[in-house]
Amino acid sequence: MNGVRQEADASDAQRPEFERELIDSGVIGDIERPLSLAERVLNNETFQRFVILFVLVAVWEGYARWLNNSLLFPSFTETVQTFGHDLRNGVLINRTITSLRTLAIGYACGLVLATLFTTFAVASNIGTRILSTFTAMFNPLPAIALLPLALIWFGLGTPSLVFVIIHSVLWAVALNTLIGFRSVPETLRMSGRNVGLKGARYVGLILIPAAFPSILAGLKIGWAFAWRTLVAAELVFGVSARSGGIGWYIFEARNDLDTPTVFSGLLTVILIGLVVESVIFRAIENRTVNLWGMQR
């Protein structure tokens, strides 16, 4: 120890203090430079996604042509042709609209119920217990498992579908909203109460925006559950009233052993999922949580 100490002292003595003028840093050139077009395109997420999709389609097309059996595995071109054909004659659009209408009703009802539940849960301790117990019970229960029961209670038709969609939306949204509310920092709550906010205004002006990342995550999960459940439910009991949905379109085609149409139905389901996820929800995120720096 002592030896080290002495050495340190000795080296200190050899190092005089100094102050100096700053050297000119201008000579190293631009501190920032804009990226070239090629660099920006390659870094673009949309571009990268398109490349992935392109490769996928190429593999699909190649395999289907090699297999040459459109009953088992139709090619991409065949699927797109059927898709285009059914789009033009309006079948696909009608089916999609029927599905989306049912979905919208179910989703909206689910959100209203979720709002009621979470309001109750936030307002009182017993409410929190009720909600967390219900969520723990019903969240793992696949909505489609309730379909037979729904058919007994509400019969063949939209009400049964709406029932199962509500079930798939409600718990996901309510649970996420409650978690979001709970994780609002105490300081933020206090600064809200400090200016005299109470009750609904406090929830609306402080809790909801502060919990928005979590609420939005709930809405996304709820949407995905609802869409899956709906397509699956339509496959099970098919037509409701006069017009069936997209699930019925797939089911019908399967009965006719018309595999390209089955594929075009699946393609529609995927496309709608993509649009909602990466157009609608992405736009909401960019305008809210991303802009606010609450999520990256």
Binding site: M190, V195, L291
Partner: protein, 263 residues
């Protein structure tokens, strides 16, 4: 003598943790007058933040009363604006300007045009005009604290309650913020109740210092610190004051293990 703006009489504060009932302060008395820079100083765990929360109306005393302009404090209110230590006090979904405007908007204390003008003026005063339309996540810690101060002052509360506002900042920024707070006070002469655990900060920022004893917080002394500022920080009187407070806080240390106080 004019009557006090804030009167705290025999206030005992207790709160419950899952396992214990903790007495934070015991029979604390003090009065804050208009224009005071009143500092509550004490070691960690002396209940000074709890005391500030009670003045803010976030918790009720077990005994004693807290009165502001003669009215007993029962709930939080915009007449006592709080500035917290944590940066999360700003609303991340609002820009700097919207954050400063928000309390004036919800309390409707000022008309819309007046509120906008006041918000702009407050942002100008804390030198953030350039960052008016930026969201808080893009600001540094010191800037966030400035926004919080601007937001509280724009509302023109009876008293500004500051809970260790500069504790989470780095030492250099803290120094700048202390100077800026004093400069603002020179212009506006607001009343501020300031909680800190730093003896130096207490002497620099405060005009009166209330020294609290360690757990549970009891009043040890009330000192006048009006003459001290950045101009005489290196004078011997400053050092003597600092030593005096240190003695007040730790004179019975020989009997008990020291509680840490950063100077």
């Amino acid at each position: 003598m004019t009557s006090a703006l804030l009167e705290v009489n025999g206030v005992t504060l207790q709160y419950k943790t899952p396992r214990h009932l903790v007495t934070a302060t015991y029979r604390v008395d003090f009065s804050v007058y208009q224009g005071d820079r009143y500092v509550i100083l004490g070691p960690s765990g002396c209940g000074k933040s709890t005391l500030l929360k009670a003045v803010g109306g976030f918790m009720a005393p077990v005994e004693g009363t807290i009165r502001i302009r003669g009215h007993e404090v029962r709930a939080p209110g915009p007449d006592r604006m709080m500035v917290f230590q944590e940066f999360e006090q700003l609303m991340p979904w609002k820009t700097v300007f919207q954050n400063v405007l928000f309390p004036m908007k919800v309390t409707r204390k000022f008309s819309r045009t007046e509120a906008v003008a006041r918000a702009n003026a407050a942002i100008e005063k804390v030198k953030l005009s350039e960052f008016r339309d930026i969201f808080p996540h893009m600001l540094s810690g010191g800037m966030k604290m400035r926004v919080a101060i601007a937001r509280a002052m724009a509302l023109e509360p009876d008293i500004l309650l500051m809970d260790e506002p500069f504790a989470a900042l780095d030492a250099l920024t803290r120094r700048t913020m202390q100077q800026e707070l004093l400069a603002l006070w020179d212009q506006l002469r607001f009343t501020v109740l300031f909680v800190t655990h730093s003896i130096e900060e207490a002497i620099l920022v405060g005009s009166r210092i209330l020294v609290l004893s360690p757990h549970p917080g009891r009043v040890r002394a009330e000192l006048d610190a009006d003459g001290f500022n950045f101009g005489n920080i290196d004078r011997s009187e400053f050092g003597a004051m600092s030593k005096r407070i240190h003695t007040l806080l730790f004179d019975d240390d020989a009997k008990r293990p020291a509680e840490r106080v950063s100077a």
